[in-house]
């Protein structure tokens, strides 16, 4: 297996995770690059720590 194939597989998995997180409302569009490129780190941080979008906004 070549380095390029491994890299593409890595990015494809990141894209799947990013789309799933976006559909589930656990990530914003601005999180997508972070999720795709560094999903082993970004997925626990973005998905596990961000509440669903329906949570009411806190007053400033």
């Amino acid at each position: 297996m070549t380095l390029g194939a491994i890299g593409l597989g890595y990015l494809a998995l990141g894209a799947v995770i990013a789309i799933a997180a976006l559909v589930a409302g656990r990530a914003r569009a601005s999180d997508l690059p972070f999720l795709i490129v560094l999903w082993p780190i970004a997925a626990p941080l973005v998905i596990a720590t961000r509440p669903p979008d329906h949570e009411p906004l806190a007053a400033e």
Binding site: T2, L3, D31, F34, V37, L38, W39, P40, I41, A42, P44, L45, V46, A48, T49, R50
Partner: protein
Amino acid sequence: MSAAVEARGLVLLEQLLRDRGAIRARIAAGRDLAALTRVMVATIAIAMAVVGAALGSYRGGVQIAYAAIKLPLVLLGTAALSAPALTAIGAALGRRARLSADLALVITALAFGALVLVACVPLLMLGRALELPYHRMILATVAIFGLAGVASLRVVVTALAREAAPGCTSAVAGLCIVFALVGGQLAWALRPYLVRPRATDVVFVHEVEGSLFDAIGGALRSAQGIYTRDRAPLPDVDAREVEP
């Protein structure tokens, strides 16, 4: 990027350099770790690109761009693949599992190390200006990266020492081993970074030819005077010189 986000990122960088206690407290409290990690990832990417460009400038030309692209990939790729080891090994040894905080801590530590490396870039440029021989330049680079590694490790150890939880020391040792193995192999796969100035052709990455451990074995054998090839490869200068 808005001015507010940019200013917050710069505040985090200043904290990383001057007040790491505040960063540690933020990580321990689990406060907005995603934003912190994003800033640290950007710091690593930019800092390592600068360091890569400095290494590439030893040969110059397109190697500057190649090394500037590859070095951030090596560090971020290694971090992505090995940072979860801190949580996994710690949990296996009885430490409370806090994956998000551990990931943020490891990335923060690596960002600090990347900033130490950037601070050492003038030394690399000095070596280039003095036309330091290739092998001495390699040794200087290894020394500088070793210094940055120690600085990064200190950030992790200091943060975990405050936990005083069982399995912390073993978790850090395990992280170091996993990081060294993954980082070594990834860096090996994406070499070269520092290329001899006399090299006529440079490649983005070498062909896959064994692993890092094969290369270490080969280097040890050649250090003992055991060679498996007749001569070291040289650029085809002689052939071009004799051409009419």
